[in-house]
């Protein structure tokens, strides 16, 4: 039961059905990749997992270690150990990363976190990310470059130490060095008590974060699941052949 399980999930926004029966399991201790063409519903899935109130879930279940979390608010889910690295991280002017991270950590742990304890944790994370302390006194994502925003998501991942993380295109828009840094962050989390779903368009990042499994999403459903070789095959052939195959199967 130590797994993040999505069962027959249907969801819509503004009357438009986007997810049409998603089934997916990420066991604790594994890292899975989620690929698929633009508009397939990958980000939608990520946001629904995190509890975005913009979406309406019509059917199905999301089970976190066996517990259905669909009725929980986004913050309750976060405190239970779920984390979403946003495809488009949001700017919050006037709130320093340091201040925000400490509040978030306190919320997650449900207790006061002393300055010393906080610093020890953050320093370690900054080292892994090869990032400057100066960023901590910057306002959350305000004026950050695309790459900095992504790095900041991983900083939060490392400090908050969730049990399950969904990383939505954290590799997009990164130069090769930044990509390695982000991969290092995710790999630092890897272990028997951590599961992740890495949403990506590129095989490239999977060279640095070896996935246990690769899933492909199309038109609101997971249509194929395989090993790392599936990502290579998609890279070589595109999505069209898969679409054909799905049609034949249907």
């Amino acid at each position: 039961m130590s797994q993040l399980e999505i069962r027959d999930l249907w969801a819509s926004i503004d009357g438009e059905t986007i997810l049409k029966g998603v089934n997916l399991v990420v066991p604790k201790g594994e890292v899975h990749a989620l690929m698929g063409p633009n508009g397939a519903g990958k980000s939608t899935l990520g946001k629904i997992l995190a509890g975005d109130p913009e979406y309406t879930v019509e059917r199905g279940e999301i089970l976190l270690d066996g517990e259905n979390i669909l009725e929980l608010s986004p913050d309750e889910r976060a405190r239970k150990g779920l984390f979403l690295a946003f495809q488009y991280p949001v700017e919050v002017p006037g709130v320093t990363i340091a201040n925000f991270l400490r509040l978030a950590l306190q919320a997650k742990l449900g207790r006061e976190v002393g300055v010393a304890e906080f610093w020890t944790k953050v320093k370690k994370a900054l080292e892994i990310l090869d990032w400057d302390e100066g960023y901590l006194s910057r306002y959350l994502n305000e004026g950050f470059s695309g790459g900095e925003k992504k790095r900041n998501e991983i900083l939060q991942l490392l400090v908050l130490e969730p049990t399950y993380a969904v990383l939505d295109e954290t590799d997009s828009g990164l130069d090769i060095d930044a990509l390695k840094v982000v991969a290092r962050g995710v790999n630092a989390m890897r272990g028997p008590n951590f599961g992740a779903l890495v949403i990506t368009h590129y095989q490239r990042i999977l060279n640095y974060i070896q996935p246990d499994k690769v899933h492909v999403m199309m038109d609101g459903r997971v249509v194929a699941t395989g090993g790392p070789e599936l990502a290579l095959e998609l890279e070589a052939k595109g999505y069209e052949w898969l679409r054909e195959k799905v049609k034949e199967g249907a």
């Binding site: 949001v90 006037g94 709130v95």
Partner: protein, 468 residues
């Protein structure tokens, strides 16, 4: 900051307790010649001051109520008591001399403790009179004067007369006239040339009598090259009837001097707070207004700086928080009257529920003020759909070489920000409070620490259950 302060902070209603005090004298209701004579008599004033008061009374009676701003129809000027003398003792130099019931109030507010730790001097006004005033000895030795305005009038009459009512004359506006007629309490501050007062001087104003008008009058003279930071805090218990606080603050910042005047008013929401604050800033001098308006029913307050000689600079920082039943009509005025003067106004307002926050500002660049530079930024944040904000920016430029910038924004708390913060474990209310705190951060970071903490706590309280 001390533990004690932190523990006290956050209980919003801690200020709203009513003290059991029996004043030694209380004037009849309404503002008449007789009442003014009584005030003057109780203060043992020189003749010229009584004449000044009576002249101001005439001006007050002639001037109409201002109708260009907030609704003042709930303010019944005939139903107010204009003078309440809380005790025989005035301007004690030691807390032991302050009557016990009054001293207890200030202890509850944490004033003596703050005085010991973080302030250079403290003044405390209770209803109409200053009951306490003290400045650290080493400053006294350097010639720094920090006393009740009445004592300033008597003990330093020449200096006092040179500036009193020269910065804000009674003709300025109806409420300046009212204050000039009925003034009582406030501080007189003089900082001699070159003396730098490192820690702030703080005055604390409390109103306890219901249906009462408090008319504090403060005069601050910062001599050449001197430095001072003056802080004013205000509280009152909550009554069902309206009260009035009408202050006049006059500041003279001489050549090369630096001064900062910080007000954080958290009056109860039955208070009309109509205040005139003005600074005259001379060559190469700098004056800063930091103005926080959190309480009161209606506030009209536009701190102003007159930049009179080359190189004079001023900054006006204003934060307003308007909840249901409150109208904060605030902003600032910059008058640039000499070449190479410059100024900034930064105003941030938050409206919640049916609260209304208005920015009202004047920027005036006079002819000949070559290369004057002004920048105005006003940002409004609306929490609820029924919240209201408006801006009245008046700009008058008579000088071609002037640079004037004006930027105004109105924003709402954004759902994506809330979701993002919530997805990191913060509850919805906490997320909203954090966004509001971020919004005012550029000004909050200029506040003395205990006020910044207090402001944060207040915002958290106000934001509880406010979204969703």
């Amino acid at each position: 900051m001390s533990e004690l302060d932190i523990r006290q902070i956050g209980e919003e209603y801690r200020w709203h307790f009513i003290d059991e005090i029996r004043p030694v004298f209380k004037a009849e209701k309404g503002l008449t010649r007789r009442v003014i004579e009584a005030i003057s008599y109780h203060k043992g004033e020189p003749e010229w001051m009584l004449k000044f008061r009576l002249r101001a009374l005439e001006i007050f009676q002639k001037k109409p109520m201002p109708t260009w701003g907030p609704d003042l129809s709930g303010l019944d000027l005939d139903n107010l008591v204009y003078y309440v003398k809380p005790a025989e003792v005035r301007d004690a130099k030691s807390w032991d001399e302050v009557p016990e019931e009054i001293r207890r109030t200030y202890e509850r507010l944490g004033i003596p403790e703050a005085e010991r730790k973080v302030l250079a001097g403290v003044g405390a006004q209770y209803d109409s009179e200053m009951v306490y005033h003290r400045v650290r000895e080493e400053l006294e030795r350097q010639g720094v004067i920090f006393v009740a305005i009445e004592e300033g009038m008597k003990k330093y009459e020449d200096l006092f007369k040179e500036y009193f009512a020269k910065v804000v004359p009674p003709e300025d506006n109806k409420f300046a006239a009212l204050n000039s007629a009925a003034w009582s309490g406030g501080s007189f501050v003089y900082v001699p040339p070159g003396v730098k007062v490192e820690l702030p001087l703080q005055a604390y104003f409390r109103v306890n009598t219901p249906e009462f008008g408090q008319f504090e009058r403060t005069l601050i003279i910062v001599d050449e090259g001197a430095e001072v930071h003056y802080i004013e805090g205000c509280t009152a218990p909550m009554y069902s009837t309206e009260s009035l606080h009408t202050g006049v603050i006059e500041i003279v910042v001489k050549r090369g001097a630096r001064s900062r005047y910080t007000t954080i008013q958290n009056w109860s929401t039955n208070m009309y707070n109509l205040v005139t604050q003005r600074a005259l800033v001379y060559g190469e001098a700098y004056h800063e207004w930091v103005d926080g308006n959190l309480g009161s029913k209606v506030t009209m307050k536009y701190p102003s700086s007159y930049l009179l000689e080359p190189g004079a600079r001023s900054e006006i920082l204003s934060i307003a928080f308007a909840k249901t039943g409150q109208h904060q009509d605030t902003g600032g005025k910059l008058i640039l009257a000499a070449p190479h003067t410059s100024g900034t106004i930064v105003s941030k307002s938050i409206s919640k529920g049916e609260g209304r926050a208005s920015y009202r500002g004047l920027v005036k660049v006079m002819e000949g003020a070559r290369h004057a530079k002004v920048n105005v930024e006003c940002d409004a944040l609306l929490i609820d759909p029924e919240s209201r904000t408006d801006t009245y920016p008046y700009i008058e430029i008579e000088e071609e070489s002037a640079h004037v910038g004006h930027e105004a924004t109105v924003s709402k708390i954004n759902d994506e920000q809330i979701f993002y913060l919530q997805s990191r474990g913060l509850e919805e209310d906490e997320a909203a409070a954090l966004i509001v705190r971020g919004f005012i951060e550029p000004i909050a970071k200029e506040l003395p620490l205990e006020y910044a903490v207090e402001l944060n706590k207040l915002i958290e309280l106000e934001m509880e259950g406010s979204v969703g």
